[in-house]
């Protein structure tokens, strides 16, 4: 009987997830066929309007930014053996913390008397406020888990519901925009505190381009004439108009930095060591001098802080000029999707970034299917919730059924390729 060996890391971390993804897509394709639509058309949309479109990529990155934070929030707790599914509520509280500090400086609570500080001071402050807000909301379930043994899953689920009520309460009262009392949202944050986004560049360019357009028109050219005589100008203007709301913003880079910090913290510091040790074996951790309840508590707080930071992207980095406000929708469900991202990313920041980009693009795909499907000929009548099914299948194939693909690939490598793609065998001497 042949000995089975591990797969080569490149195969294990490259090919296997790809195959799992393809499987998930195939099942969704089947689903689309079953509801009587054309799966090829749907996938075409994914390629043309998400993967190969500037707007699509920008939006994907925007969603991914939020998902990197919520994914890391889940992953950090997971390393301590805890399942924090309160990312949604903690994200809401991140937003509440951020908005609270912003409103103070805007003079919202003091009859308009505030401090109009520049962005380079306010933005870091608002980020800290978001982190503290998320951490504070996680602190209570964290305390209950660490010192009272209440299961984190149960308490964080409940805290999501409570957070939703609190945010509505605030948005219909203390935090509400006085100029628009019918709408549960906060006043618009001042523009100098918004994050720099890709759309800003195009908005800036558009000023020149529109001036030039006006000049063309003033010189008596008709629209088709302008287009035909200056194709380069015409295309640049079309692109700028298209991209001026692109929401990909600097917090994506910040998320990447945090991801690197996450790696260092978890695998290269004594705190990460303590967290992982309680995740694997609490008795051994206790033996090793780790204060288990305190470490647990701190981990859940940090996890909440990461979820809280996810709100910065949605509030300060929003693509739409009128949406730099706190809304009752919080993280629009991306707090929950963070669980799937962490699962697929195997709780490693590198994996999480990749998974977040994938899930972000799927999110955008859902938007495109919804918006554009109606205008296609023939019509593509699919609800954007199909993406939820796809996300579920991705989790199924990369999580619960992940070994299925691993076995299949290993079988092929062993029996058909004569061992190509397998890792070197590690010598383990049994006897001393």
């Amino acid at each position: 009987m042949s000995k089975s060996r591990e797969l080569h890391p490149v195969i294990n971390f490259g090919l296997v997830p790809l195959l799992q993804l393809i499987l998930a897509f195939m099942v969704v394709g089947l689903l689309i066929v079953l509801i009587g639509e054309n799966p090829v058309q749907a996938v075409q949309l994914y390629v043309t309007d998400v993967l190969m479109s500037q707007v699509g990529i920008g939006q994907s990155i925007f969603y991914a930014t939020t998902l990197i934070f919520t994914g890391m929030a889940v992953a950090l707790a997971f390393h301590a053996g805890l399942f924090n599914i309160g990312g949604e509520g903690q994200g809401m509280f991140g937003g509440i913390g951020l908005t609270f500090v912003a409103l103070i400086f805007m003079g919202h609570f003091t009859g308009g008397v505030g401090f109009d500080l520049p962005g380079f001071i306010m933005v870091p402050l608002l980020f800290i406020a978001a982190a503290i807000g998320g951490a504070a909301w996680a602190a209570i379930p964290g305390y209950l888990q660490a010192y009272r043994g209440s299961h984190l899953v149960i308490t964080t689920i409940m805290f999501n519901a409570i957070a939703f009520s609190i945010i509505l309460f605030l948005l219909t009262g203390w935090f509400q925009n006085p100029d628009n009392p019918g709408d549960p949202k906060s006043p618009l944050l001042p523009e100098q505190w918004w994050l720099w986004k890709v759309g800003d560049y195009y908005q800036y360019r558009l000023i020149d381009l529109e001036a030039q357009y006006k000049a063309f028109k003033d010189s008596g050219l008709s629209v088709p004439e302008i287009r035909d005589q200056n194709p380069a100008f015409w295309e640049a203007r079309a692109q700028a108009r298209n991209m001026k709301n692109s929401a990909a913003n600097v917090s994506f880079l910040f998320a990447m930095l945090v991801a690197v910090g996450f790696w260092f913290f978890v695998w290269r510091t004594k705190w990460g060591y303590a967290i992982r040790s309680i995740g694997f074996n609490q008795t051994a951790a206790r033996y090793g001098g780790v204060n288990v309840p305190r470490t647990m508590f701190m981990t859940v707080c940090l996890s909440g802080a990461l979820a809280g930071l996810a709100s910065t992207n949605i509030i300060l980095g929003n693509g739409s000029d009128s949406e730099h406000v706190l809304r009752e929708t919080g993280l629009v469900g991306l707090g929950f999707v963070g669980i799937a991202v962490a699962l697929m990313g195997r709780n490693h920041p590198f994996g999480i970034v990749i998974a977040a980009l994938l899930f972000g693009s799927l999110f955008q795909w859902g938007e495109v299917i919804q918006l554009k499907g109606q205008f296609l000929r023939p019509k593509l009548n699919i609800d954007k919730e199909i993406v939820v099914a796809l996300q579920g299948l991705v989790v199924l194939f990369t999580g619960a059924l992940s070994l299925m693909v691993v076995w299949a690939v290993r079988w092929v490598a062993e029996n058909l390729l004569g061992g190509v793609g397998l890792a070197k065998e590690i010598e383990t001497e049994e006897r001393a």
């Binding site: 009987m1 000995k3 260092f264 004594k270 060591y273 992982r276 008795t283 001497e429 006897r431 001393a432």
Partner: protein, 511 residues
Amino acid sequence: MREIAIELSGISKSFGPVQANKDINLSVESGTIHGIVGENGAGKSTLMSILYGFYMPDEGAMRVFGEPLDFNSSEKAIEAGIGMVHQHFMLGEPFTVLENIILGAEGGFMLSGAMRSARETLVDLSERYGLTVNPDAVISSLPVGVQQRVEILKALYRGAKVLILDEPTGVLTPQEADALFDILRSLKEQGTTILLITHKLHEIMDVTDRVSVIRRGEMVGHRETTDTSPEELAEMMVGRKVLLEVDKAPAQPRETALSVSGLNLVDDRGVQRLTNVSFEVKAGEIFGVAGVSGNGQAQLLEVLSGMEAPTSGSITIGGEPLGRTPNEVRLQSMGHVPEDRQHMGLVTAFPAWESGILGFQASALYCNRGAMKTGLIKEEMGRLMEKFDVRPPNPLLGTAKFSGGNQQKIVLAREIDKAPDVLLVGQPTRGVDIGAIEFIHRQIIAMRDAGTAILLVSVELEEVLSLSDRVVAMFDGYCSDAHVTAEMDERSLGLLMAGEFDRTQTGGMAA
């Protein structure tokens, strides 16, 4: 020649890359006691599980009293007359003896009829084999030795003609073990065939007629017990000559390093785990704590290492009161090799280099303002692994990938390398093969000779007797007076382990 009760031919079984059994042939004559010895992990238990229908072998055939038997179910094995007494009893604790015996063999719909006939059978069996038990006693109220008798009766009640006992003496005092062997002998006289699995050679010499030795999944030989010796069996088990005696000079005890007085511990559930435990351990001696597992030794180690706070009593180390957390205790130069390396001493999911700093992860040795000095740790670990003969000496390998003996060496390396003044050692050779036992014993003695005070907790009687300079026994949370080991033998220490000492005294301070 007698009838062959069990015949195995060409049995092979592998679990993934591990070949647990390889082409095993075995024939057991009916009405004999047949011993199977081998190191931990040699494949004894796998073989017995195959016999009992738990595992399906990859290859091979089996005959029971000449009849071929399928391997796939325990029910068929029971039908064919095979009974198994597991190392860990399979008894319903709140049930009575009688209820346990008919469990799974109730027969009819109503319980009362089965109970009545079972009672008769049970009384009959008890008388025939001298297995006296009260059928109406509740299991949890019975001593371990009697619980084991119930297991044997259970098998006999189901018509077992072949009885397999898997490490039956692991949980028994020497006196209880002797009683068990008497029972086995009388079973044999009545015609029962017995397969005794153990890694204790003196038991084999004591009670068996024939013995088979397994090494690394392979049957290396069969011997008539009268024709062999413990030395030969040990050599067959390990594959080379083994020193069974521990070679050590007399101790040179100096000042008291660890002093425990009036220690009490009541656990979360209100159970008194330690009662008035007092003793002193001197620098340069090995202080043995004997006792059957579960008599408070684990709790004693937890308290001494700072993991658990005592309810009352005082502990001093080097004259100072003991710290209140494992970290504080480590700073007082106390090392601790825990009883259970896999659940306490190591994080098996970590690579070896990370497990190798457990407890020292925050010390300035390995950590600079929170950031671990990974390069230095790996280098250091590689050096330590060479020094302690850990195989393979690869610090990047996952801790779980090392064998039990090598895992134990990683723990020892970590604790001994810090040259502590006091070293707590729990079950240093549990689940460790004979070759590694020698090495570990030598390391402990070298520590003692270097002036460390060593507290050795072990359930292996031979280990305590051969390693320690002074010895106490623990029973039900009580601790006996200390005795000079040289004046003790298996019998006298066995009596202490069974609780035959004065528990009203403070204890532990004599000798």
